[in-house]
């Protein structure tokens, strides 16, 4: 009896083992039937490599006949010895004032855009104006977004004159494109429940906007505007290159005269400014959400 039981157990184990073997055979069969995509991947890789090589050789890349070693030596020496008298010059032409001006350009531009983008955002949201008008709004926003910032600054310089005001206006107009698009998305994602509830208790349109719409969209709007402020601090440094105020002007002058120590002073200012602004805005954004 006992032997019989043991035999039975062994038999059971063997069948289990056979079963598992059977399964593993199934798995290996399936593995052999796996989609063979290596040809497809190979073709794509080869195409990309060829495109890169072709691009390198066809774009007529020319390297100026310069002594690279000396050039890099000057670069290294300039960057390790920033022009400290320029970096700590507290007058109007010095780096600290220009950095402050850059942040001011970015902030006032973003504020303008954040306010101006609200009507655009509502006019582009599908749940406010319907599908057809929203298409027109979207097209308008794409036009604003694709108009290069520098060209816009060049146009505005003719109108407002050189200076930081032009930079702020440029950023204010250019940022509407992105801000209004993201505002519209926030409005479209709004929960209609509170508005219907306010409707049901007889609120008028202003009360509906104040208690139903604003509390829902304001955090989104603020976080989008802060995100855009990050981007705008960077672009405010660029706008100076076309003499629209800020740090860009000394940067481009230094680069054109190969004054590496002045350039590194400006770059240090840019790095510190961007890191501080990023830290502040990400902290504020994490508080909002």
């Amino acid at each position: 009896m006992f032997k019989n039981k043991e035999q039975h157990q062994i038999k059971k184990q063997v069948t289990q083992l056979n079963d598992s073997m059977h399964v593993s055979k199934d798995v290996s069969d399936k593995y052999n039937q796996r989609p063979k995509k290596w040809i497809y991947n190979m073709v794509i890789t080869v195409i990309i490599i060829f495109a890169v090589i072709w691009t390198f050789f066809s774009s007529g890349i020319t390297i100026r006949n310069v002594d690279f070693a000396t050039q890099f030596y000057y670069l290294w020496r300039g960057f390790t010895h920033p022009n400290t008298s320029f970096l700590f010059d507290w007058s109007k032409g010095g780096v600290p004032y220009l950095t402050l001006e850059t942040v001011a350009i970015a902030f006032s531009g973003t504020f303008l855009a954040a306010v101006l983008a609200i009507p655009f955002g509502f006019l582009t949201a599908k749940n406010v104006v319907g599908k057809h008008i929203s298409k027109i709004g979207e097209l308008l926003l794409i036009i604003i977004r694709t108009f290069p910032e520098i060209v816009l600054a060049l146009v505005l310089i003719r109108v407002v004159g050189m200076g930081a005001t032009t930079g702020a206006l440029t950023i204010g107009i250019h940022s509407i494109g992105m801000l209004a698009k993201l505002y519209a998305e926030a409005i479209e994602n709004m929960d209609p429940g509170p508005i219907e509830a306010l409707d049901a208790v007889g609120a008028n349109i202003w009360q509906k906007i104040k208690y139903g719409i604003f509390p829902q969209v304001i955090p989104d709007f603020l976080s989008v505007a802060l995100y855009r402020f990050d981007i705008n601090v960077r672009s405010a440094t660029i706008l100076g290159m076309v003499s629209a105020g800020g740090l860009g002007a000394p940067l481009i002058f230094a680069s054109q005269s190969w004054n590496w120590s002045n350039m590194s002073a400006v770059l240090i200012a840019i790095i510190i400014m961007v890191i501080i602004v990023d830290a502040i805005s990400s902290k504020l954004r994490s508080k909002l959400i």
Partner: protein, 282 residues
């Protein structure tokens, strides 16, 4: 406005209305706006509003001048876009952004791994790596292009360097955030089977990452096309060179307008293309 109301409920309990911070935030924002606006207005030129119409007309209508006997038609306006000069510049722009995106997104792979907390568990590696990447990301593409132009001279190579450094910075950040959000189950399973970290990465993380990676690549390519359009303004090749050369001339400004329309069409096509690819990847 700032005082909080206290309500007495029917049960006798008193409930304080929570303090509304919106007004204070708005007040601070407005004060900052006034301060920065004041600072900005310190540095302003003379306002000439009538110039706006003039310059927009010069940009977006064919050039007309009796003095120089130039009477262009709309056909002349748009036929400029078909010249070899524009074709070459446009190709340069596309090449610059393409090569820059490829180089940057290949370079970013090892750095993204070194930055991600769940693969490299040593704090001494990923914290300094992230700091370096953050330093790289603070530089606007234009600023890198300025440095590159003054180092290696004008031409598309400077643009390629600028776009690849920019792509490198942003791709590394996006990728390591993506790696950290991945499912680490397969990775641990492979390691427990005896695979080393590299093998485990290529067979568990990489397949999960690939669609996202391609999506980010395409997204970066789109950004790079937009930025490299104007990179030429500082001498880094592409359409920007032509914009810079023609912007100051009174009778060549219409070319800039035509180029702007070309840019608009390209960006719209590119956006549709990237949206299509990203839709396919999901």
């Amino acid at each position: 406005m700032l005082a909080t109301k206290t309500y007495t409920l029917r049960s006798g309990a008193k409930v304080k209305q929570p303090f509304n911070k919106t007004y204070i935030v708005a007040l601070i924002a407005i004060l900052l706006f006034v301060a920065s606006g004041w600072l900005v207005l310190q540095n302003k030129g003379t306002l000439k509003l009538n110039e706006l119409g003039t310059i927009l007309k010069q940009l977006f209508t064919p050039t007309q001048s009796d003095a120089f006997n130039i009477h262009h038609t709309w056909k002349d306006y748009f036929s400029y876009l078909l010249t070899a000069e524009i074709r070459e510049a446009l190709l340069d722009t596309l090449r610059m952004s393409f090569v820059g995106s490829v180089v940057g997104s290949v370079l970013c792979l090892p750095f993204a791994i070194l930055c991600s907390q769940n693969i490299v568990k040593t704090k001494w590696i990923y914290v300094p790596m992230r700091f370096i990447i953050n330093l790289v990301r603070t530089m606007p593409t234009m600023v890198i292009a300025v440095i590159a132009v003054s180092l290696i001279g004008m031409g598309p190579l400077a643009g390629i360097i600028a776009t690849s450094i920019f792509t490198f910075g942003i791709m590394t950040k996006m990728l390591y955030e993506c790696i950290e959000a991945l499912d680490m189950g397969p990775f641990e399973a492979l390691q427990s089977c005896g695979a080393n970290k590299t093998q485990a990465f290529f067979y568990s993380i990489f397949p999960q990452l690939l669609p996202t990676y391609i999506g980010y690549f395409v997204y970066n390519f789109e950004i790079n096309v937009r930025t490299s359009v104007v990179l030429g303004y500082v001498g880094a090749g592409g359409l920007g060179v032509i914009i810079q050369a023609n912007m100051d001339g009174l009778y060549t400004r219409s070319r800039v307008g035509a180029i702007l329309m070309l840019i608009f069409v390209i960006v719209v096509i590119l956006q549709a293309f990237t949206r299509w690819i990203r839709g396919k990847l999901q």
